[in-house]
Amino acid sequence: MINAVGREIPEEILKMTGKEPYKGAKAMDDHEFTRGAAKVHAVVDPGRSKLAANIREVLEKCGIRDGMTISFHHHFREGDYVVNMVMEEIHKMGIKDLTICATSLGKAHDPLVPMIEDGTVTSLRSSGVRGKIGEAISSGKLKNLAVMCSHGGRVRAVESGEVHIDIAFIGAPTADEYGNLRANGGKSNCGVLSYAIADAEYADRVVAITDTLVPFPNVPASISMTKVDYVLVVDEIGNPARIATGAAKPTTDMRKLRMAEYCTQVVINTPYFKDGFSYQTGVGGASIASTISLTKIMEERGIRMGFGVGGLTTPMCSLLEKDLVDVLVDTQDFDLGAIESIQKHPDRHIEISASEYANPFNKGAYVNKLDYVILAALEVDVNFNCNVVVGSDGVITGAQGGHPDTAAGAKCTIVIAPLLQGRIPAVCTNVTTVTTPGESVDVIVTDYGIAINPRRQDLIDALKDTKLPVCTIEELRDQAYAIVGEPQPVQFGEKVVGIIEARDGSIMDVVREVKEFSFED
């Protein structure tokens, strides 16, 4: 069946998953459902300790067995040790057929590949994967479909009961012996625990893993003792150097600076740029540079931001330092400056849950209130569909993150992408895989020019008297193809290895097994 972004979703995939094809960004508005619920093992006896001696003991106490769904968060990013330490023990126990429901996985989790190969892990749900897990999925090694979901889509699946987590493993920078968990302090400070909050609420068993046990009560807690079954203390839950680095040095690459300048000019020439506007941006060089150039203009014109959302970095937090924003709502901290900021400004830099951030199936999330979001993309096509998960070689190599959520919510969604990545055109006729629908994407900023979605005549009008190099998306594609040629399509096999789940749970696209490339005679 062809879905609303023109992608063929095979009938057997719809049948196998029980899912609908994607029907449009607002197709599920007012959807009625009953929330899922977790089993609770009540702690009535005040004398019972929650501390576990080691991973094996905690796994046994939680009743780990074949076929379970276990979950992890990605606040430790590429510095995470928790996933691997838990999975190694499970592997040793010979448990099979597990579903991993992670908020995201990275190269740090390459050691999972042998467990995918031997059937320890047979299903996977994640915002995305990088490195060797991506290669393993794309070469058909995972037994069942990999489900790539957005941050909002994952928490929707958990809260709606579509996914039921048996055991949640929550790495916590600090914990007390009764399971009050905080992201601040400790050796593996990550600022917030936003992505783990739903897991603590909806999993049958919740295991906190920390390397810094602190006196009771550890408050204010991101996750309360009322949700936590066991606390395990280990030597190290992560590598701080890879959890958060110092603020990235602002780019001096003129190409990125040019794109940042274009982006800022788009923002300030659209009608939402007024006192109290809201804004979210990412961690790329151009995104950071555009926050810096936007800050200058806000100072010059005396315009303040109402709220900023993140994924936060130092330049966004500097807005708070300069009193140019009322409040920052935070789901993840990408550098030490952001972590420092949440500690320094507890009244105006606030941790929010993934559900508050982006869940389409609650009664309203922050993304719905965004004026601007600045995003990146691996590929954008002439219908403004974006791909942020599958590389132009067909291999899964990225994550949806909050891309489709923020794009769907924001009044003005700007995607920054250099027109050419080496010999690969970023603007093309058809993206390899659709992860964010073109109807949610408004402006594409490249180093060669800017294209505005024809669905947004209001933005076209707003920008027509500026000196910005506005052209059509087809013109951008043609420029790219004129320089590097039109790429031959990636050669995929027939087997579907994964789905791109839309944030509302329907199917946006499928990912097929990659075939070895063969040259035509």
């Binding site: 001096t252 003129m254 190409r255 040019r258 050419l420 180093d447 060669y448 004129a482 320089i483």
Partner: protein
Amino acid sequence: MSHPNKKRLRRSMMFLNCQKPGLIKDPYIYKPDSIMLDLEDAVAENQKDAARYSLFHALQEIDYHGVERVVRINGLDTPHWKEDIRVCVAGGADVIRIAKTETAKDVHTVEEHVLAAEREFGRPEGSTLLMAALESCRGVLNALEVCESSDRLIGIALSGGDYTKDLQTVITGTGVELMGARQQMIIAARAAGVQCWDTVFTNLDAMDVFEEEVRMIKMMGFDGKSLVNPRQIDIVHKIFTPSQKEIIFAEKVVKEIEEKKALGIGVFTVDGKMIDIAFYDGAKRTINLAKASGVYEGDL
């Protein structure tokens, strides 16, 4: 008749290493007036041939969207310059920049080979322009003869690094060591009716010092500057492009002089400043610069 592009706008001339395809594939996105594709110092001695190969294909295949394509060839004291010229002409370069020029004879030597190459590759005779880089004390002292050496010559550029070595000093950042050369060259260029460009500024961490230097050379009369990084382009253009205030004043001066001339009035005031015919050329130049820079919206 002179080449129609001999006096085009050349505020910014950005160096690019021909060895680096990523650099030469799309520098037009930064909108410099000219790019200088370098076969000389940026290219390693054993990579000259590879760089020429890249250069030829770049000149042939890439649409530079109206940005002038200058090629800096190797010096006449090297084994490379003759082949460099053949490649430039075969590829269709707009201008050849002669490195280490010291005398009119140097220009004549290059000119002969350019003419031969134009005949060899069927390019119109005279279509390849020349510019001369002065990199030594002798070159600077001979600036006038170099400027007057050829109808193909669009102007002279100072190459500060080699020049200060020859002068037995260094680039100090104050500009004092370059003062004499800059003065001598701009005077010679104006006397001969050709253009004149200042040397590169290489400290990319000191953009404010760069900006000061650009303001200074603009005041001295230079037409523009050689650049090493695209971040420098917008600064040069900002300084070399007349402001709206300057344009409006120049418009008034031109219009008033023309009107008053008809009435037989020689001296009058515009916005409180005394104006006579001596201001006419300067005001016209401002308007022309504004037009060439794409910021003129009037009807003169």
